[in-house]
Every structure is written in C-alpha cells, then in structure tokens.
C-alpha cells in the first residue's frame, strides 16, 4: 500500500565522494517495502516542485526505518545532502514493482549485478534472496557499500580505473570469473542494462532489470516515465509502459532499451 509519510532523518553520512546515505524513520513505508521499490523524496525548497525518485536501499521493518543511498546529481540531491538529522522530509512510497523474490529457490544461482548508483537497491535484494548469490559490483573508482554485501555471497568488483578488482566493466568481471548464473538481477546505467539483457538472451536465462526514467508523479498518473515495450501494454493500450508503476523492475524481455 502506497503511503505519504513524513519521515524523520536519523542519520546522514557521506559514504564516498558525493555519495550519501540517509537513514529515516518511516514505519509505514518500511513495513511493506519490497527490494527494488522506490520512494519519491520531497525537496524542502519549494522552487523544486517535483519530488525525486530514490530506491530503497534497505528497509528494516523491526526498527521502522529505511535507508537511502544517493549520489549528488544536481540541485535536488545536493539539497538533500545538507539535511541534518532531526529534519523531517515528505516521502511517498513504497512505489512501483520490486524484484520477484519468488523467482529463485535454494538450488538457484543468482547473479546480482550493480553499476555505480544502481548498487544500493541490490543490498536489500541480496539479503532477501534465498539462494546462491554471486554479486558483481561495478564502480568508476571509489567503492561504497561493498562491505555491506559481504554476508550475502561471493563478491566480485570491477572499476573503470582499475583501482579495485577487475579493470573494466561488470561484464568483464562476469566473464573473467566465469560466473554461470540461472537468473540475473541488475540495476545500473542503461549501457550496463543493455549488456545484461544481451547476456541473458544469449544464455537463455531470465534477467530482472531496474530502469530509470524522468518522473513527475511517481504513481502512474502523468505518463511522464514510459519505456517502449514489444507488446501492447495492458494499461496504456499502446506499446509503452510506466516505469514508476509497472516497473522500475522489469523482465528484460518485456522492455525495449
């Protein structure tokens, strides 16, 4: 159930240059969030009229808290990074469809692939998946959140600069370590998702990918956030679908990238 909730910021930490982690008390949203879902974050400066979509990195139902990890990408996220603990912000969520946790069983080997600021939502997912997990994390240079994944499975790192792990992309790491998954879960930049989609098609395995698109409402009303689809969509009655509602996580075969 989607909720509008005023959430209290509990902590705000810079994890790496320009990458921040915010922990918030949001009992209603945390109680029903599924990994891969997101929230719309209201910017306090009212000249920013659109809320910002940010994935839920992790939800702690027992504590009633959620964790957001975000990169300063522009004015809205820059302002978010200045909010001090004790400040309240408006959230709407949890929004969209998350990753299908029931697509795996104990015998499954899942490949979890994250690129850059696509990594955060994969943490909650990695903890929730009940199967063998091979986790490939791609960074430009500086690492963040990598230690949080340690309890979840084998971790393979790639960096563009070669400062850590394999020098190159996540796809280079996947081939270098000869990972042979039954299913893929991914989030990251479009080029990476295209490569993942191609890889999954070649191996004949399913891939669930999380997409990004510019959003206004975040709840399915404005039709701002669509992605093209090979089939006619049930809701829109044309060949595109709403990332905020039918996504952000899609079976890679159901969207045209």
């Amino acid at each position: 159930m989607k909720k509008k909730e005023r959430a209290l910021i509990i902590s705000q930490t810079e994890l790496a240059a320009g990458i921040f982690e915010m922990r918030l008390a949001a009992p209603q949203i945390s109680s029903c969030a599924v990994p891969g879902q997101f929230v719309m974050v209201g910017i306090r400066d009212e000249s920013h009229i659109l809320p910002r979509p940010i994935s839920i990195c992790e939800a702690d139902k027992a504590l009633g808290q959620i964790r957001l990890v975000y990169r300063i990408a522009g004015e809205g996220t820059r302002e978010m990074s200045t909010y001090l603990p004790g400040t309240s912000i408006d959230l709407t969520g949890p929004l969209g469809k998350g990753y299908p946790l029931d697509a795996v069983n104990e015998d499954t080997t899942a490949l979890i692939v994250g690129g850059g600021i696509g990594i955060p939502p994969l943490l909650g997912l990695s903890k929730a998946l009940n199967c063998t997990r091979k986790i490939v994390l791609g960074y430009r240079d500086e690492l963040f959140l990598d230690h949080d994944f340690e309890s979840c499975g084998n971790i393979y790192i790639s960096t563009d600069t070669g400062s850590h792990g394999v020098k190159g992309t996540v796809m280079d790491a996947i081939s270098q370590y000869q990972i042979k998954p039954d299913i893929i879960f991914a989030c990251g930049p479009l080029v990476m998702l295209k490569a993942v989609k191609g890889f999954a098609a070649e191996k004949g395995i399913p891939a669930f990918i999380s997409l990004e698109e510019r959003m206004a409402c975040g709840i399915g009303a404005c039709l701002g956030c669509v992605v093209k689809t090979p089939e006619r969509d049930n809701h829109s009655n044309v060949n595109n679908t709403r990332v905020c509602t039918e996504g952000p996580v899609f079976d890679s075969r159901e969207v045209l990238l």
């Binding site: 159930m1 009212e46 009229i49 409402c217 701002g224």
Partner: protein, 302 residues
C-alpha cells in the same frame, strides 16, 4: 452554514475545486491517497478517438518553480476509457469532466459522438491546444476563427455541456475567449501550458526529446491569474481557472479574478493530497472571512 457549491451550465458541483486534465489520470492512482468523492469534479486525462503513443522520452523536466511536459497526449483511446475509466469513476459521488483531444475536427467529433447521451459524463472539456494536422500543426486554439468553428461543431454534436479549454499561447486571450462564447461554449477553462524549452549547456542538448514542452506550476500562476481576469471580463459564461495552484490562497486568487471553479494541476505531483487541502483551505478562508456562499467571491475584483 458555508455553501461551497457552484453551478455551471446546469451542473451542480459540491465545491469549486477540480483537478487539471493530465495531472490526475482518471483518478485511479490518487484514490489510494484521497477520497475522490470530496472533489467538485474529476477532470480526466485527454482522450482521443484511437490510442495515442505520445512522445519519446524524456517527457518531463523541472524548471524553477515549474515543470515542462511533452507527454504528447498519450492515451488509451475512447473505447478503453469508456470500458475501464468511466465505470471506475461512476463509483464516486463526484462529477466527471472528460477532456477531449484530436488532430482534426473529425477526431474531436468522433469522441464527442461516442460520449453522446452517456450520463456518467457531466461535462466535456475540449483541449484545443492540440496541433491541427490539417493546418500544418498549428494549434486549434490560437486562431479565433478556428476556435469559433470547432466550438460550434462540437456544440452541435454534444449532449453534455461543453467547456472550451483555451491556450495561453496567444497575443490576446479575450479574442479566443469571445470566439468560444460566440461558438456556443457553455464555459471556458484556462490556462493550458505555456510553450517552453530547456537546454542542457553541458550536453549542448535539449532536455526534452520533443525539444519544446508545456510549462506549468507556480511559475505560470501570475500569467494565468491575469488571463483569467481578462477572459472573465470579456465573456458572460463561467470561467474555470488554473495554472500553478498549490494551495487555497492560490485558488482564491483565481476566484477573485473571475473563476467560478479552479483546477489543481502539477501540484498533485508534489503532494497527492494537494487537492483536498485546497478544498479544506477554501472552507477555512470562508469561515475566517465570514463568507457564506463561495459564489459571492467569484469575480469580486472584476
């Protein structure tokens, strides 16, 4: 006793607040947050005779105190709308205003004719900001002769009262307002979005795939209030005002300038509860200022 009701072309609204077309879908997404029965009316997203795919993405961009959109009037077509959206809305105690779009006069008429006699629809709102494909893509709403003509044809075909929704992208709003009235419109609504553009200098590229988009939000409110004032002074039919309304005080600006009803648009995006807050805020204002009937405020400054 506070009376917030208004009447337009014989249709009674429990309060003067509706939502702006295209910002609220058909209400399905918002009914998780608010009770649609509280609204004076739900105004639906523009619907055409056949499904429209809309524009490529990016379709939306934020601008200072506003936003640009180039959705391209994506819609599922009148058949799906009548089978799915109208039955859904019939479950609420509110009026339904159906917003209609088209590329030719015939396309508008096809929708109007399909809705003929449909009692689930209280009023029609005709979006004449659409590009007229027969006239090289020029908007129907910028030429008073074209506004008069299309209004007349729609009035002849429609069973419900007709609201003509005017575009602000004109030199003199009074002329198109008058043309709609002369064509037989029961009411006019304004403003639709102002055409704008945003460029990313770092990428040296347009932000919207469509290059241009419609500007909405608080940034356009002063322009909208002025145009409602001018239009209301030029015609004798009711005016529905919109453009950047995000609280009761904004709504009251429009009412004092001559609007019988107001619509909340882009503000629904920042807070899905905006429209009910606007209704509560107007009621609170009426209590504070001892206004018994909202009708007494309409056009107070006209």
């Amino acid at each position: 006793m506070i009376d917030m009701s208004v009447e337009i072309a014989g249709v009674r609204f429990k309060n003067p607040v509706t939502v702006a077309s295209g910002t609220f879908g058909s209400g399905m997404e918002y009914c998780e947050f608010i009770d649609l029965s509280r609204l004076g009316a739900v105004t639906t997203k523009g619907v055409a005779a056949v499904p429209w795919e809309g524009n490529p993405v990016p379709r939306v961009a934020e601008t200072p105190s506003g936003m640009l959109n180039a959705i391209g009037l994506q819609n599922p077509g009148i058949d799906v709308f009548m089978d799915r959206d109208l039955p859904f809305l019939a479950g609420f105690d509110t009026n339904v205003i159906v917003n209609v779009c088209g590329h030719t006069e015939e396309e508008y008429l096809a929708v109007v004719e399909r809705l003929y006699g449909d009692t689930r629809v209280s009023m029609l709102e005709i979006n004449i900001s659409c590009p007229n494909v027969r006239e090289g893509g020029m908007s129907f709403g910028t030429d008073p002769d074209m506004v008069y003509r299309i209004t007349k044809r729609i009035k002849e075909a429609a069973s419900q009262p007709v609201i003509m929704k005017l575009t602000p992208n004109v030199t003199d709003i009074k002329l198109t307002a008058k043309a709609a009235e002369d064509g037989g419109a029961d009411a006019i609504s304004l403003i639709n979005t102002l055409t704008g553009m945003k460029i990313d200098p770092e990428k040296r590229a347009f932000v919207l795939a469509n290059k241009t988009g419609g500007l909405s939000g608080p940034a356009i409110r002063p322009v909208a209030v002025r145009m409602v004032y001018e239009a209301a002074g030029a015609v004798n039919i009711p005016v529905i005002g919109m453009g950047g309304i995000s609280c009761a005080s904004d709504a009251l600006e429009f009412i004092l300038a001559g609007a019988s009803m107001v619509s909340v648009g882009s503000a629904n995006f920042s807070d899905p509860e905006t429209v009910t807050k606007v209704i509560d805020g107007i009621e609170d204002y009426m209590v504070r200022h001892k206004v018994e009937k909202i009708k007494d405020l309409t056009g107070y400054l006209l």
